[in-house]
């Protein structure tokens, strides 16, 4: 750790107040990224090999994911939506 310059209590207080915690939900969402990515990889792979699942995804994405056992969070829905055009090719 590099030593902050000037150690009076006022300065320490100022510095401490510069880093409020990020909202807990944001931190949790970022921490869940690896798991979300794993889920995405699994969904994409299944959609590639399973035409029926692919049709269900296009017809009703949220219901298809829930039915397949994935929690259809907004992030996952956006991520799968972004992959759908590639899956149709």
């Amino acid at each position: 750790m590099s030593a902050p310059s000037g150690y009076d209590e006022e300065r320490l207080g100022e510095l401490l107040s510069l880093l409020p915690p990020a909202p807990a939900g944001w931190v949790r969402a970022a921490q869940e990224l690896p798991a979300a990515r794993l889920g995405l990889d699994e969904i994409v792979e299944r959609a590639r090999v399973d035409a029926e699942f692919r049709v269900l995804l296009v017809a009703d994405l949220e219901a298809a994911l829930a039915e397949a056992g994935f929690e259809p969070t907004a992030e996952l829905l956006d991520a799968v939506r972004a992959c759908l055009p590639d899956l149709d090719q």
Partner: protein, 185 residues
Amino acid sequence: MTMELSDAQLVGRCRNGEAAAWNELVERFSRYVYAIAVRAYRLAEHDAEDVFQDVFARAYERLGSLRDDEAIRPWLAQLTRNACVDRLRAAAREQPTEEPAAEETDAMLEQLDEALDLQAGLESLSEDCRDILDRFFARDESYRIIGEALDLPAGTIASRISRCLGKLREKLEGRKNPADASGEL
């Protein structure tokens, strides 16, 4: 996950796919990324949230391309700056907005780096001290709220804060002059 891990060790473990290491990395830098967005670039909360998620998503995807694991902090800072600037420019296309001056953001980033160093220094304090300083300064909680949360008389909070700041100062001075360091806090 122990807090003793260096940034480089933490990055190495993330690269090996350790979920606990990724959790710790996000925890360690979440305040920093958030503060760059809302303090240095003054983004509105909803834009800051997009930037925050975007930065950690990019970090996760590109961690393998980081050449020096020790440089995770400046790398995250740069990812965050880029994301903030992109966000401001996209917003300006819809409605003219003024970007903060580069000198201003540079000065704030310097202060945030110093603040993050100080956060690391807090780790050497007792949990009680860390908690009370964090609640008062970073979370902006009142004496009354702190007193209720920690089951302490509100009248003693100010003196405890002062005492903990004193300990932090001693600790920092001890690090600067190791010969003067005077034991545990």
